[in-house]
C-alpha cells in the first residue's frame, strides 16, 4: 500500500508539473514536448489501472500521432512564439480566479457525493487486455465503432477541404 502511494504521488507530481510547464512555456514547441511527457505519464497510470490496451492506444495515437501533428503544424507555421501583449490586462487574474472557483466546485461535488460502495468486485488479471476490450467493443459497441470510422473519414475530408489552395478561375 505504501509503495503504491509513493508511486502514485511521484507520477502525479510528474503529471501536474508537465501540465503546468505546458501552460507556462513561452515557446509552443516546448509546450508540445511537455504535453507528450504528460500523455506518457497518464499512459503509465492507465497501465497501473489495468488498462493495458488503452495505455498502448494512448501512446500510439495521443503521444504519437496527435502530437506529431501538433509539432508539424507549429513548425510549418513558424508559430513558436507569437504571443503579443494582452489586450485585456485583467484577463489572466480573472481566469485564475474562475479556475479556482471551478476546482472548488469539483471538490465540493466530490465531498458531497455519497460514499463509494467500497472496492467492488476485484477485476481479474485479463481485465483490460486487448482480447477483453475487443470483445466488448465488437459485441456491445459495434455501431458506435462504425460511426467513429465515418467520423474519422469526415474529419479527413474536412481537413483536406479546409487547407487546400483556392482553385484558380477556370477560363472558358
Amino acid at each position: 500500500m505504501t509503495t503504491d502511494l509513493l508511486i502514485f504521488f511521484g507520477l502525479a507530481a510528474v503529471a501536474i508539473w508537465t501540465a503546468v510547464c505546458t501552460l507556462l512555456s513561452r515557446n509552443a514547441v516546448y509546450s508540445a514536448l511537455f504535453l507528450v511527457l504528460n500523455f506518457l505519464t497518464v499512459a503509465v497510470f492507465f497501465l497501473l489501472l489495468q488498462a493495458a490496451f488503452i495505455a498502448l492506444v494512448q501512446v500510439t495515437v495521443y503521444a504519437g500521432a496527435i502530437m506529431v501533428l501538433f509539432l508539424f503544424v507549429i513548425m510549418l507555421l513558424g508559430a513558436e512564439r507569437v504571443e503579443t501583449q494582452p489586450s485585456l490586462p485583467w484577463q489572466a487574474p480573472v481566469a485564475a480566479g474562475l479556475t479556482v472557483v471551478l476546482f472548488g466546485l469539483m471538490a465540493l461535488a466530490f465531498a458531497l457525493s455519497p460514499a463509494s460502495p467500497g472496492a467492488g468486485p476485484s477485476p481479474s488479471d485479463a481485465f483490460g487486455s486487448p482480447a477483453a476490450v475487443g470483445e466488448v467493443l465488437f459485441r456491445d459497441y459495434l455501431l458506435p465503432f462504425e460511426v467513429t470510422s465515418i467520423l474519422l473519414l469526415v474529419a479527413m475530408v474536412g481537413a483536406i477541404v479546409l487547407t487546400r489552395r483556392p482553385r484558380p478561375k477556370e477560363t472558358p
Binding site: L5, I7, A15, I16, A19, V20, L23, S31, A32, L35, N38, V42, F45, L49, Q50, A51, I54, Q58, V61, Y62, A65, I66, F70, V73, A79, V82, T84, P86, S87, Q91, A95, A96, L98, T99, L102, F103, M106, A107, F110, S116, A119, G120, P121, S122, F127, G128, V133, L137, D140, Y141, P144, T148, L151, L152, M156, G158, A159, I160, L162, T163
Partner: protein
C-alpha cells in the same frame, strides 16, 4: 496499483482545472488547443479509474472512443488554424475577430 479511486479522480480534477486555465489564459491558438487535449486526457483518466473500481470494461471502451474522436477533432482544428494563419498571418486569438458585429 492499490490506490483509492478518489485520489485518481482528484488528480484528474487537477489536470482538468489546469487545462481550463490554459484555455482561458493563453492566446496562442495552438497552445489553447493543447490545453483542450489536456482536459480530454483528464476525463479519460477519471473514466479509467471508475472502470477499474467497477470492474466494468465499458469505461475503457468509452476512453477508446474519446481518443478516436479527439484524433478527428485535432485534424479539423489544426486545419482551421492553418487556414486562419494563411489569411491573418497570426494565430493570436485576439486577432481573429472577423465575426465581430
Amino acid at each position: 496499483m492499490n490506490v483509492p479511486t478518489g485520489y485518481i479522480v482528484g488528480l484528474s480534477a487537477v489536470l482538468f482545472a489546469l487545462g481550463v486555465l490554459g484555455v482561458l489564459v493563453r492566446r496562442n491558438a495552438i497552445v489553447m488547443f493543447m490545453s483542450v487535449e489536456l482536459m480530454l486526457n483528464a476525463a479519460n483518466l477519471a473514466l479509467i479509474a471508475f472502470a477499474r473500481q467497477r470492474a466494468e470494461l465499458s469505461g475503457q471502451v468509452f476512453v477508446f472512443f474519446i481518443i478516436g474522436v479527439a484524433a478527428a477533432e485535432v485534424a479539423v482544428g489544426l486545419a482551421l488554424i492553418v487556414a486562419i494563419f494563411k489569411t491573418k498571418h497570426s494565430i493570436d486569438v485576439d486577432q481573429v475577430s472577423g465575426l465581430r458585429g
